[in-house]
Amino acid sequence: MTTAVVVFPGSNCEHDVVYALESVGGSAELVWHRETDLSAFDSVVLPGGFAHGDYLRTGAIARFSPVMDEVARLAADGHPVLGICNGFQILCEAGLLPGVLLQNRDLTFICRPVHLRVESTASILTRSATVGEVLEIPLNSYEGNYTADDETLAASADQIMLRYCASDGTVADAHNPNGSSDHIAAIANRAGNVAGIMPHPERAIEDLLGSSDGRILLESFVASVGAVHA
């Protein structure tokens, strides 16, 4: 079946995501944010960008887009739902993932490759990866600073899928680009079918462009399509 890639006004990574999903064997279609019926799809990606200009709070306005009821339904039914960068922010605002994303610690936009350590394979984003494996994937955000209070962090410890790290896998403040709590770069819901990732796996699918490490994550997603995680 086909993955719906939602286009909000202000999204800008939608074409890249379709291209990347197809390059790992998936099939994807763009869907406008006013769509109210996703019954033709069994998985969805909220791509990166600046939905509604990121005005007020990133993701705050987008979560009210008509399509979001269907996204919530797919999530509840255990279908794969992935938010990348701005999509991650939207899933948090919509309450489908814990926590929020705040401005980067240094208050500057960051666009550069970062290293990520796979912490768990219990999600549609990491199931084909190996725990401990280190991936090099571009980060591209101003509000990439994952933040949650201590209870939330404690409660969702085993939902952390990726952490920022050094090239050798060391996790430490020095290798945390944006100040994220617990160095979190990607997190999933309990069931593992809803995941949010701040860096852009779709930007790391060809060596010509610098790295192919993102493929394993997108392959995980594509492999999860069809399977229902309840």
Binding site: L56, F64, V100, L102, L107, T147
Partner: protein, 81 residues
Amino acid sequence: MTEPTKVTVVVRRRPSIADPQGATVTRALRDLGYTVDGVRIDKIITLTVDGAGDVTQQVTEMCERLLANPVMEDYEIRIGS
């Protein structure tokens, strides 16, 4: 049909949640030689609500749904300018 009402909403990030912007501005002000502390930068939203119904209740709803993020922010509503 009621009169348009001016409303002010102050949206504050919970003290428990880091405020990188406030921290940066504190540093900057100290660099400029001021002895300041605990700078926080929050949002003040002004709008006019028109139409029938209880304004306070309407604005509370707007805050709960859109203007504030309950996970990290508190809000405070002032009716009338």
